[in-house]
């Protein structure tokens, strides 16, 4: 349709005023949005209760979908298993033989470990998880990488607790609702985690890049000792995570460390568990300003 050449929407005064008020309201909306955005960038916890309640409200729906997803996945795996039964059987037999040998070795190591621990009179550090739940959602349209967990304050989940799957670290609790909570995933650009190389004491930080990869940044600069395929585990520094949980595998060496892939893909994880904070005392210490510590 060709333009009519006039800007007036109608001859009705009321309609014209209505349209004008609409423009004013839209401008005001943008302004209020900008103020809210500024406030929540300045104070990330701003109105987080509202968000928690909103996510509690949709949690039943997303939980159902999550259950369906994990169950359909195992169905596909079962079908695929039938198709590849023969070759897999032979391969598994070989693997079991090797595994038996390794198991014996591990038993020996475990025994020695127990003996050494009793010498040091250390306690067994196996901790019980606070809660076990499914990941029921994620912010898949936003640049930030958050996931939603189907357990909240009612299950004992608190802000800061680490989340892990049987394979390794998934992330850390950021916000808690009554029956759901928000998890900061390892791949988020704001996530930083102290790690060490699994076989020795090369310490580094694992930072999310926002594109699915993890950047390993060595603390001690010098010759870069990392090689492709090195596994990094949590070092326990910082007080949030238990030491020795798998985090990432190096895939590409850079100047100050490496690029790595996460060990646990949250999309593949069925259930995840929330662990208690490793050393609350260390956390409190790190939060105390140095001036006050020196003053007392």
């Amino acid at each position: 349709m060709a333009p009519t050449g006039q800007r007036r929407s109608s001859y009705s005064r009321r309609a014209q005023y209505g349209l004008f008020t609409g423009y004013i309201a839209a401008g005001a909306g943008a302004l209020v949005g900008a103020i809210l955005l500024g406030l929540s960038l300045w104070q990330p916890q701003f109105l987080s209760g509202l968000r928690g309640e909103a996510n509690d409200a949709v949690a039943p729906a997303t939980r159902t979908v999550a259950t369906g997803r994990t169950e359909s996945k195992s169905f596909y795996q079962a079908v695929r298993g039938y198709l590849r039964a023969g070759s897999q059987n032979a391969q598994l037999k070989r693997e079991v033989e090797i595994a038996r040998i390794r198991l014996k070795e591990a038993q020996a190591v475990e025994q020695e470990n127990r003996r050494l621990k009793s010498l040091l009179s250390l306690q067994n550090t196996d901790t019980k998880p606070v809660a076990t739940a499914r990941l029921i959602g994620a912010t898949s349209a936003s640049t930030r990488r958050f996931a939603y967990l189907g357990a909240g304050a009612e299950d004992g989940v608190r802000v800061g607790m680490p989340v892990r799957s049987p394979r390794g670290v998934v992330g850390r609790i950021l916000e808690v609702g009554d029956r759901s909570s928000r998890v900061l995933l390892l791949t988020d650009s704001e996530s930083v985690l102290p790690v060490r190389r699994a076989q020795d004491e090369v310490v580094a930080f694992a930072e999310g890049r926002g594109d699915g990869l993890i950047r390993i940044r060595l603390i001690n600069l010098g010759i870069n000792p990392i090689e492709k395929g090195d596994l990094f585990v949590t070092s326990g520094a910082g007080g949030y995570y238990q030491p020795g949980i798998a985090v990432a595998i190096a895939t590409e060496i850079t100047d100050d460390g490496a690029l790595a892939r996460i060990v646990t893909d949250p999309a593949a994880a069925d259930f995840v568990s929330v662990l208690p904070i490793f050393e609350p005392a260390a956390l409190r210490g790190s939060r105390t300003p140095i001036e006050r510590e020196l003053g007392e």
């Binding site: 949709v58 898949s140 930030r144």
Partner: protein, 184 residues
Amino acid sequence: MERMNPRSRSDAYGSRINRSHSTVLANGVPYLSIMLASVLPLIVIASALPIVPPLGFLMLIGWRLVRPGLLPVWAGFPLGLFDDLFSGQPLGSAALLWSLAMIAVEVIETRFPWRSFAQDWFTAGLILPVYLLAAMLFSGGEPSLPMLIALVPQIVLSILLFPLVALFVAFLDRKRLTRWRKLG
């Protein structure tokens, strides 16, 4: 009377005798569909890349472009505020950007007052990348080059998805005027 066409007393929205449109449905369907689309990306567990298009925003500009005059200019604010609760962005990000997008569509339509699907797609193709880039800047994380590269598939997917969204909006627009309210 037997020879009369049984459909002669009805139109595309159903029988015209004793039936009327529902005001709630006619006005509520656009808002409801946009809010539902805002919640939908939650279901996909994407741990590596922001791969799912911003469905709520796509539905908003879909309704605005395919069916102009239905959503008021200020509708971006309340709907954006709702989207902020679920999108993972800081609160206020969508409230601001959706309001600005509605004003931008208004400005583009006064500049180019013709109507065609190609022009709607052009407008959407202009607004979507700007929206996604701005949302990345306001996400609270420090913007970096890898993040920018990670955004490319999402931008392409969103622009390619717009025709489907437009079709879906047109479908909902037909359904929202179904006469199902009984008179008398």
